[in-house]
Assembly symmetry: C2
Homo-oligomer: 311 residues x 2
């Protein structure tokens, strides 16, 4: 596997410029005509006033870079964060990036003169895991991305849950009404306890010692630091509680965990699987699996969307 | 509207014997060739050893009664509680009635020599509300039945969530991990706080005074009894918390409340709508509506299933 590339094979078809617009950076690549992804290009996501124009400019620049190496580009695949309604072709809302009801596929198509496949970053990453990755062949599955935020892509009876882009905001489901305050205004949201940012923040709040991230909290917990152990175990319990809510409402047979926290490996998966076995019944207990496609699943999902748009 | 009958009109088609097997009684009716439901017949649900054989006997007896008045019966529509997989034609599990993996549609078809449409009581009642009742035309809706238990039927992007019968067990989703113990073994399930049985039980536990049901607790609350007010307000808050979980995971635009508790009317709907407006954001805040079909929605759903099976 080439550095920065993603080891997937979508088979022959159109060449597609694929883009994943994140809160921090825009990642892009090219799905070549053979169905492989080229090395990934990163650039900072524009912020502030005129964010929509500046993001469209940046996306267009990534597409022209892709076209320089692949003049036969047949489509663009584009995913963005926030609330996204792919059916209406609208980025409904992003608190983080500050936009509302933006017709990105129309804007990007007008600039690039290419058809644009468009979707939500996590929903599309989930689809990539379902069609090509850790959830291959599952009918009822949830793909939960635990990074600085938490979001889920749910598939029930083989179909993705969209609800005009509003489904899957698991990070802002309350798992403990007596828990810490969340930026959303509620108390005890899953994201306020179990995101990588929350784990670092809660350790700092408990001890007065700032740590760079959740990885350091885990290392401290494994070295015997009781405050770190409490924060880590609390995050695992909160994730189990969130998954139990899914079990009650959509009942996935399989839960795939991706995002930064999932790189903790057994330190996360072993206690979480134990907690699920204990707490999820009488609901169906899901099998737990790490994401297979990983950090570039959004780009792979964008490739699936772009291939569809090229037809 | 005739007493014991249901005021729906499914239009001309096959005559169907419709049955709703509940934990306490079996209700049946006939959907006539004009699409109207005849008066409803009630009999106790058999229990104990041989429950499956005895329920099949009772169902066959109801069907023969229906055939006596409607010799042209073209199908049976049958709904049962518990975990139900309509695709496999199996009643997967009922803790209450004590059965597991029962092929009811095959058993009833063999006895009655009629095609059998088969489904879950609450899922089917939800479908009746979506196709004919309070959720008519909604794409993303949840129909929550709050009686002695609590269950939900969810529709996302216009499709029901099945998950092989495991979706919709909202009553056993935890809304407060510090809450009361539930029969399922968890603490703070919605059903342990907000079902009609829980409301009566929690009032008795708080005061030592036994009451027949949630209706009496509401009357006491309205008369100024602070313990009754606390129990009632706690139930409303728990329902709001359960609906917020739905908002995060499936995001209904509309929530329909049925079952015994919904007959409390404004005393339930007014404070619950206020609580949703306050607590559900940043998720989409659903509109709240009482069920339109009511106590016989399971029979109306069975009629829809029976009409399909007759084709």
């Amino acid at each position: 596997m080439r550095p920065g590339a993603v080891d997937v094979d979508l088979g022959p078809g159109a060449s597609v410029a694929v883009l994943d617009v994140g809160g921090t950076e825009i990642k892009s690549s090219v799905l070549d005509g053979g169905g492989r992804l080229c090395p990934v290009v990163h650039s900072p996501t524009p912020r502030g006033a005129d964010v929509v124009d500046r993001v469209v400019d940046a996306v267009a620049a990534h597409v022209e870079l892709a076209r320089a190496s692949h003049p036969d580009l047949g489509a663009v695949g584009l995913v963005v964060p926030g609330i996204v309604d792919p059916e209406r072709g609208r980025a409904v809302f992003s608190e983080n990036l500050g936009w509302r009801d933006v017709p990105f596929p129309d804007l990007v198509a007008a600039r690039t003169l290419l058809p644009v496949g468009f979707g939500h970053d996590v929903a599309t990453a989930g689809r990539a895991e379902l069609e090509l990755g850790a959830a291959l062949g599952a009918r009822d599955a949830a793909v939960i991305i635990v990074g600085t935020g938490i979001a889920a892509a749910s598939f029930v009876d083989g179909s993705p849950l969209l609800a005009h882009g509003w489904a899957g905001e698991l990070g802002h489901s309350v798992v403990d009404p007596a828990g810490p305050e969340c930026v959303c205004g509620a108390r005890g949201c899953l994201e306020a306890i179990a995101s990588t940012a929350a784990i670092a923040r809660r350790y700092a709040a408990a001890t007065g010692t700032t740590v760079p991230g959740s990885r350091e909290v885990l290392a401290l917990a494994e070295a015997g630091d009781p405050a770190a152990r409490g924060v880590w175990d609390g995050a695992v319990a909160a994730l189990a509680a969130g998954i139990r809510q899914l079990a009650a409402i959509t009942s996935p047979e399989l839960v795939v965990l991706g995002g930064g926290l999932s790189r903790a490996g057994d330190a996360l998966f072993a206690p979480l699987a134990q907690a699920l076995a204990r707490t999820v019944p009488p609901h169906r207990v899901p099998v737990l699996r790490p994401a297979a496609i990983g950090a570039y699943a959004g780009l792979v999902g964008a490739a699936l969307l772009g291939r569809e748009a090229s037809r």
